[in-house]
Every structure is written in C-alpha cells, then in structure tokens.
Assembly symmetry: C2
Homo-oligomer: 146 residues x 2
Amino acid sequence: MKLTRKRGQTAKLRSAAFRRIRADHQTELAGDYVELIADLIDERGEARGTDVAMRLGVANATVVKTLKRLQDAGLVTQEPYRAIFLTGDGWKLAEDGRRKHKIVEGFLLALGVAAATARIDSEGIEHHVSEETLRAMARFLARNGG
Amino acid sequence: MKLTRKRGQTAKLRSAAFRRIRADHQTELAGDYVELIADLIDERGEARGTDVAMRLGVANATVVKTLKRLQDAGLVTQEPYRAIFLTGDGWKLAEDGRRKHKIVEGFLLALGVAAATARIDSEGIEHHVSEETLRAMARFLARNGG
DNA sequence: GGCAAAGTTTAGCATTGGCTAAACTATATG
DNA sequence: CATATAGTTTAGCCAATGCTAAACTTTGCC
C-alpha cells in the first residue's frame, strides 16, 4: 500500500462520536413519543393515537406501528382502540426528556434566541447533549437569569 | 366524541419542529460523509472508502451503498476501486458543515465544556442548530474569547 | 510476471420509519 | 337503538441505513 499509514487511532476516537449519534437517533424517536404522550396525558387526561400523529406530523398508521415497538420495549401499554399509557420506564424517559428540553430551551432563550427558534432548535438538540453540556447550560442559566 | 376539543392549532405548530428534525436527519448523514471526505482529502490527499468506514465506525459495504446515494444526489463522484471526490455541491455542503461545527464546538468550549465532550456533542448538535442560534453562539464566542 | 494482502464491491438480509387505502370499532346523537 | 362519523388498525408498499459473507480488483513485492 501507498498512502495508508498511521490511521486507526484517530479513526477510533472519531468514530465514537458517530456511533453515539447513531445510538442517539435510535432512542430519539422513543423519547419524542413518550414525552408527547406524557404531555397529552397531563394536558387532557389521556393520549390518543390521533393526537400523537397530529402533533408529530406523521400518519396515523405510523404511530400505530411505532407504538407497537414502544410496547415491545416496555415504554407504553395500550389495548386496541383505547388510549395510550406510559409504563414506569416510559414515565422515567419522558421526565428525563422534559428535563433536558427545559434546560436547552431555557438556555437558548437566555442566549438571546427568539422563542419560536428556541422551541424548534431545542427539540432537535435535546437528544444530543451530554450531561456535562447540560450542566454547563444550567450553570449559564443560573448566572444569566433563567 | 368526548374529549376531543380545540386541537389542531397547537398541533400544527408543534409538528413543525418534528418535521424539521426528520428533514435534518435526512441531510445529516450526507453532511457527515462529505465533511469527513473533505477532511480526508485535506489531510492525506485522497479519501478512500475504508478510511471513511473506519472513521464513521460502519462497515465497508455500508459506505459503498451510501456513496452510491450521494453520487446520485450529485455530492460526490467515484469510479469503481478508486478514491472518492467531492463535486462543487459536495464541497459547499462540507464547508457549511465545517463552519457550523467550528462554531458549535468553539461555543461549547467557551461555555466550559471539556474538549472531548465538546467534540462529541458538537458532532450531534451541528445538524440541528438554526442560523439564528449559530449567530447567537458566534456572538457569545466573540464576547467570551474564542 | 505472479501472488498475497489490502481494499472494494456485490449479494442478500434485517430493521426502522414513513406512506396510502381499505377495513374495522366505538360512540354521539337523532 | 341505528347509524354516521371519528378514530383506529391492518395490509402492503417504499426508502434508508445498517450488517455479514463471498467475490473481485489493485498493488506491493519477491
């Protein structure tokens, strides 16, 4: 070979980031669903498939299919034609998502980002921030009025 | 119906965020690929499939398949068994990714996040920040030494 | 020049997450 | 209490992204 010298070390280091992104994406959808379901339960007493579909902007059938996976994963329970409930694990995941969401959104607002943008961006960012970064954001928030 | 009153408005507003996240995910992979290919070309003069696979932490075959899509999308060019090149659009996308990456990573460092964490988190965050948030980060960076 | 090793591609499979259209159930109300 | 409508599920499709194993090129080197 000609050009292939001394890789591997940096490669392995960098690939860690991408591996985590792929892992994050897998839990991201589940997180969005349970957080949304938790919100619906709190807001209106129950979560129905149609509401979830509407808020996520996907088709009903997609929600049904995804809920099946979430049920297999032990995050929600549901009987045919009835409302959706969260399991203990489901609530835990939802609460964690809300916690992160609140920090990130509040942080963006404190940074001077407009409310609408903060809401949209925080939704995307929340699943990719480590606890360390969250702590840094919370620290900033504490100092700069949150 | 019993419980279904006054939704739709909030629903549509919220779904916008999720729609954007899904759209972001579609371009995210392409962005990661071209950014990585650009880095490899700059670092070592050429980008080979194996290097891309190694740094992304995926199998070789996955890279081949993805590159085919990127080629269809007009971002890269490649002949069988040869190195990978970026098209004009490919370079543009890569440069844009680098620009965002630099701002986000620098910002996290300025926030007080450790270097290793900043590197990993910025990789995940860079595809989900709007231009407005980037400007806010750049502003912060300008004031707090970057 | 030919061979072994490194690199690359092909083939074939699985899962996720999206869709539409059609079938089915629950329920509000006339 | 029958039925129309709203809500839900099923069936069947597609594209993207991952994998392994096997086949095929390239190339460094003897």
